[in-house]
């Protein structure tokens, strides 16, 4: 894998099925170019901070948006969020949190840590597709990094 290829959308999702569905949704809306999927929080941190398997990657090569699953083994979404926001190189990257339920405390904690948006992953697939489409259009096509 070319560790230095341009990444526009970084999808961090431990659940393969969810990841596949998300990718499919992005692809369907023609925003699937340069999507990279990472399997958990630990890998996300390695990628973003150029450690482990991603050692030597250019840290300034930042994605336009990170779609971050909240619930992951080892390092969860909120921990990744915290790490990204507390690093000067990465603090400006928009992060959209994916969550199975709109639990109050997660939302509050997320916004505290500087999340840009939340998407509740619904059981109903179509609704999920719609949501991913909206996110992609907004953050990848319209939103430019400052």
């Amino acid at each position: 894998m070319d560790i230095n290829k341009t990444v526009e959308i970084l999808l961090v999702e431990d659940n393969d099925n969810d990841a596949e569905m998300a990718l499919r949704a992005l692809k369907k809306n023609n925003i699937s170019n340069k999507v990279t999927r990472l399997k958990d929080g630990e890998e996300a941190l390695d990628f973003l901070f150029c450690k482990g398997d991603y050692e030597g990657r250019n840290i300034h090569n930042l994605p336009k948006v990170i779609l971050l699953d909240l619930k992951m083994p080892k390092v969860d979404g909120l921990e990744v969020l915290k790490a990204v926001r507390s690093n000067k190189d990465t603090e400006k990257v928009p992060i959209v949190m994916l969550t199975s339920s709109r639990e109050e405390r997660d939302v509050v904690e997320g916004y505290k840590l500087g999340v840009n948006s939340f998407i509740v992953k619904p059981v109903e697939f179509n609704t999920f597709m719609e949501a991913v489409k909206d996110i992609g259009i907004y953050w990848v096509l319209l939103n430019e990094l400052p």
């Binding site: 431990d14 659940n15 569905m21 080892k74 199975s100 339920s101 639990e103 059981v123 109903e124 697939f125």
Partner: protein
């Protein structure tokens, strides 16, 4: 050489001295002569005045005969007396002490008076019937007026003649003085001046004496006229008695006795006889008026009180009284009042003094108003009463204005009435003196006439303020006494020791329990006294009579109604002037109840003492000074007092550490003032220095007078209680801490529950999403390869996934509702592991598994829950070692030093990073992805919770690639 030059200074001196002597002697002689003459004149004037009055009286008696009222005897007596006095006045009379008149002018007047006197006397001489008297009226009328006029003329002339002679003598004296001036010249003018001045003074004195005499005359006349005061003259040398009918009336004599003094002495009360004799016969060299009060007994047995005021006029060379002048007055009425006062000596004395003062003639002021000139005359006493300077001219209306406003009208009306109706008045009024003082006065007035014409008003004026106020106060005091007597059930009695009469008040009948008609005597009273106490009462009474000791006793008494009571008796003896007991006055009170109360209190007090002494606790009884009265044995023990006698000593001295406790000293004082105080917990340092905890109570105790006699302290050593309480308190603290920890644990459990539900809501949804999502993808991408039946079945899958999402939500709600209770029992752990392993081995490939279970101690717990633990741990061990060539699982135990058994399960699986060991037992926490190992992440969380709920602990040790060991501890069965 002039006359003065011829005589030497020595001669001048001698002449001066001898002239001086002549002047002094003549002056003294002159004064004495004037006084003598005046005295004689006064006697004559007095008699003349009487004669005039007697004439009037006779005339009045005669006139009254027309109305059928005639006292022939009296009339004859008056006429005889009239004739006698007339004879005396004209020719002198040894008996009356009057010399024959020598002044021509008066002799002439008397001779002119003679025919009228003779005519009247003759016309009345042989009267025998009323008609005779009526027949004599014309003659009487004819002569009466003339007689009276002549008599007045005589008095006037008498006065002017005597004044003239005095004047002449004074002129002679002045002449003598002038002569000595001529002789002694200017050198002696100074000496002369002194004598001249002295003459002036003497002259003034003379005038004053004259005016006083006139006044005295007036007073006498008025006094007798108004009644009550009767005057008389007794000459013991000449055996002459000069008095009027009034005196006979006063003493109740029907006719004139031979010797009135002897007659009076016969009717004087035997007890007073000595007193009277003393007054009359014993010499009084000081010539002061002598006052004596005595009783007389009329033939009817009636007692009258007489107040006599006696002035000695003459004494012989032996100092023996030969002539006295005096007044007598009936004071029975006042005496009655006096009797009322007997019980209160002080008031009585005051009242008596007031009475006597009022009676004293000189203290009564006189006044006169001349209606023609509208001028007023006041005697010195009247001036004194008004507090106006003697001699200040007074106008009639000014006199009235001295009365307080509300009395002016009364006086004015009385005066009007007197002028119009010739009536007299007698009023008690309030006077405003010049200095603004309000005083009570008695104003008596009556009109007087000249030739039947009203010419003025005369009267008496008395200062009765003291008496009035005393009587007002007396009324008040009486009322008060009455009230207190009624309220206190006081029996008041008076025992007359002479008559042996016993009198008592209304309350006495009630106190003594006798009927109202009971007639009290000393004997009857004595018979009711308890026989055993009688001697005591009699002796005490005797002692009171014999000495000055007052009676103050208590004795048993059998009431008239048979009830025995205790009487208190107090009394005192009333003595006469000679100190002889005459009366005994006293009070009795029923004190039975009070005595019982005192007895009760005495008994209570002794009970209290013995209670304190015998008390099985530390009790002490103190007096009001905090001295020990008595203590219990425990008190010594409690305070560590040994071998010390503390009774009678101060609490603060015995226990100095108490004195240092200022708060306690204050508390003792508060208890002594009646408070009851206590403290449930207080620190105390004992005499030996040991510190203890005490509880104490302080209460006042009451003595037989119902007063606080001191305090009682009750002390308990509560050190053990306090220790116990403190222990309890620390236990409670500990328990509280435990509860707090349990609460904390509960909170942790709650958090876990929350995390559980949180995870469920996330992770259980994920597979559902997949089912749903991929079914959609299948329908989307492969719909042309599915027939209608295929599409329908896909729809069912989708729908089921949605339903399951809903079910998860429901289960979540359910799991949050309640917790399962642990039901403990004895568990054979080895058997449990074996059975679980047997089942688990079926799932995995048995051949590549090497399982060993050592001997395990039993445990106490919930079988179902612990089985779940074992299943979980065993399956985990098999699962995570399933990728190895051979799974090696060892099950064993360790004994910890905290009474717990530690069980462990060891595998040779993938292991985990110890960095994440904290997440190992979190709900739905996973250290491996699903693609690596299957699992929900709930297993270890459930295990931890079950172990925790059994009071145990779970932990794990691991090395990545080498294997993991899970430990859990359980309390020993």
């Amino acid at each position: 050489m002039s006359f003065f030059e011829r005589i030497s200074p020595k001669q001048i001196y001698l002449i001066a001295v001898s002239t001086l002597i002549v002047l002094i002697v003549s002056n003294q002689l002159l004064i004495h002569k004037i006084l003598d003459e005046k005295q004689d004149d006064a006697t004559v004037i007095n008699l003349a005045g009487r004669q005039r009055m007697l004439g009037q009286k006779i005339a009045k008696t005669v006139y009254l005969a027309e109305n059928g009222e005639i006292d022939l005897q009296g009339l004859k007596r008056d006429v005889e007396k009239w004739a006698l006095v007339h004879e005396g006045l004209t020719n002198g009379n040894q008996e009356f002490g009057i010399e024959a008149i020598e002044i021509e002018e008066i002799k002439q007047l008397f001779s002119e008076l003679e025919p009228h006197q003779v005519a009247i006397q003759e016309s009345l001489a042989n009267l025998s019937t009323q008609q005779d008297v009526i027949n004599s009226i014309p003659i009487i009328q004819k002569h009466e007026a003339s007689f009276l006029t002549k008599m007045d003329e005589i008095v006037d002339v008498f006065e002017s003649v005597s004044n003239n002679s005095v004047q002449k003598l004074i002129w002679f004296e002045i002449g003598l003085g002038l002569f000595s001036i001529l002789i002694l010249g200017l050198g002696f003018s100074l000496v002369f001046k002194i004598f001249s001045k002295q003459i002036g003074v003497k002259n003034e004195e003379l005038e004053k004496i004259t005016s006083e005499l006139v006044q005295a005359e007036n007073v006498l006349e008025i006094s007798e006229k108004i009644g009550g005061v009767v005057s008389w003259v007794f000459d013991f040398e000449k055996n002459r008695e000069l008095y009027g009918q009034n005196l006979l009336d006063l003493y109740g004599f029907d006719s004139k006795p031979e010797r009135i003094t002897e007659a009076i002495l016969k009717i004087v009360h035997p007890d007073d006889l000595e007193k009277v004799k003393r007054a009359f016969f014993k010499a009084n060299k000081k010539r002061k008026p002598w006052k004596v009060e005595y009783r007389i007994e009329s033939p009817t047995g009636e007692i009258k009180y007489i107040l006599a005021i006696v002035s000695v006029i003459k004494t012989n060379h032996e100092g023996k009284i030969v002539r006295v002048i005096g007044t007598s007055q009936d004071v029975t009425e006042s005496k009655k009042n006096e009797a009322e006062l007997t019980s209160r000596k002080q008031k009585l004395e005051l009242s008596l003094k007031t009475l006597q003062e009022i009676q004293e003639v000189a203290k009564i002021g006189t006044w006169e108003v001349d209606l023609q000139t509208m001028s007023a005359f006041w005697s010195d006493e009247v001036y004194r009463i008004h507090e106006v300077e003697t001699g200040t001219p007074i106008k009639v209306e000014e006199g009235i204005n001295f009365y307080r406003e509300d009395y002016r009208e009364i006086i004015q009306e009385s005066i009007n009435d007197a002028i119009e109706n010739k009536s007299s008045w007698d009023e008690e009024c309030i006077l405003l003196t010049k200095t603004g003082k309000e005083i009570w006065v008695r104003a008596i007035g009556y009109p007087f006439f000249e030739n039947d014409n009203l010419v003025g008003l005369r009267g008496l004026f008395m200062d009765i303020d003291e008496r009035k106020r005393a009587s007002q106060e007396l009324d008040k005091a009486n009322e008060k006494l009455q009230l207190s007597v009624e309220a206190g059930q006081l029996a008041i009695w008076i025992w007359d020791m002479k008559t042996n009469q016993l009198e008592w008040n209304d309350q006495a009948y009630e106190v003594f329990g006798v009927p109202k008609d009971f007639e009290p005597t000393f004997e009857k009273f004595s018979s009711m006294i308890h026989p055993d106490d009688l001697n005591y009462v009699v002796e005490a009474t005797q002692r009171t009579i014999e000495t000055d000791e007052k009676l103050d006793i208590q004795f048993r008494f059998n009431k008239g109604d048979g009830k025995e009571i205790i009487l208190s008796g107090r009394g005192d003896v009333v003595r006469d002037e000679d100190g002889n007991p005459v009366q005994m006055i006293g009070i009795n009170m029923d004190v039975t109840e009070r005595n019982e109360m005192v007895e009760n209190l005495k008994r209570q007090e002794s009970q209290l003492r013995s209670f304190v002494e015998q008390a099985p606790a530390a009790v002490a009884m103190f007096d009001t000074e905090m001295n020990y009265v008595t203590v219990s044995n425990k008190w010594y023990e409690h305070n560590r007092i040994e071998g010390e006698d503390i009774i009678g000593r101060s609490h603060y001295e015995v226990l100095p550490q108490v004195a240092k406790r200022k708060d306690w000293v204050k508390i003792h004082k508060r208890v002594l003032s009646g408070e009851e105080l206590s403290n449930d917990r207080d620190q105390f340092v004992r005499k030996d220095g040991s510190e203890i905890w005490i509880s104490w109570t302080g209460i006042p105790w009451y003595n037989r007078e119902m007063k606080i006699g001191g305090i009682i302290l009750y002390v308990t050593d509560i050190s053990k209680d306090v220790e116990y309480t403190e222990k309890l308190e620390s236990e409670i603290k500990e328990r509280t801490e435990q509860i707090r920890q349990q609460t904390e644990n509960l909170e942790i459990v709650n958090k876990e529950l929350e995390a559980f539900s949180y995870s469920i809501s996330h992770d259980l949804r994920a597979p559902l999403r997949s089912i749903n999502g991929f079914t959609d993808i299948l329908l989307e991408d492969y719909s042309d390869q599915l027939d209608d039946e295929g599409k329908r079945l896909m729809g069912i899958v989708k729908e089921s996934a949605v339903n399951m999402g809903q079910l998860i939500d429901d289960i979540l709600k359910f799991s949050r509702l309640g917790k399962k209770k642990i039901q403990k029992s004895q568990i054979d752990m080895k058997k449990l592991f074996e059975s679980v392993c047997e089942n688990e081995l079926k799932v995995y490939n048995e051949e590549k598994i090497e399982l060993s279970i050592s001997e395990l101690p039993e445990a106490k717990g919930d079988v179902t829950l612990l089985q779940q633990v074992v299943v979980n741990l065993v399956s985990n061990a098999l699962k995570y070692s399933s990728n190895e060539d051979k799974s090696i699982v060892n099950i064993g135990y360790e004994v910890s030093d905290t009474n717990k058994t530690i069980y462990y399960i060891k595998d040779n699986g993938v292991g985990f990073n110890m960095e994440y060991k904290d997440k190992l037992f979190g709900v739905f926490q996973r250290l491996h992805t699903k693609s690596e190992f299957e699992g929900t992440g709930v297993g270890l969380a459930i295990v931890k919770r079950i172990i925790n709920r059994h009071g145990g602990r779970i932990w794990a040790e691991s090395e990545v690639g080498i294997g993991s060991t899970f430990f859990f501890s359980l309390p020993n069965g």
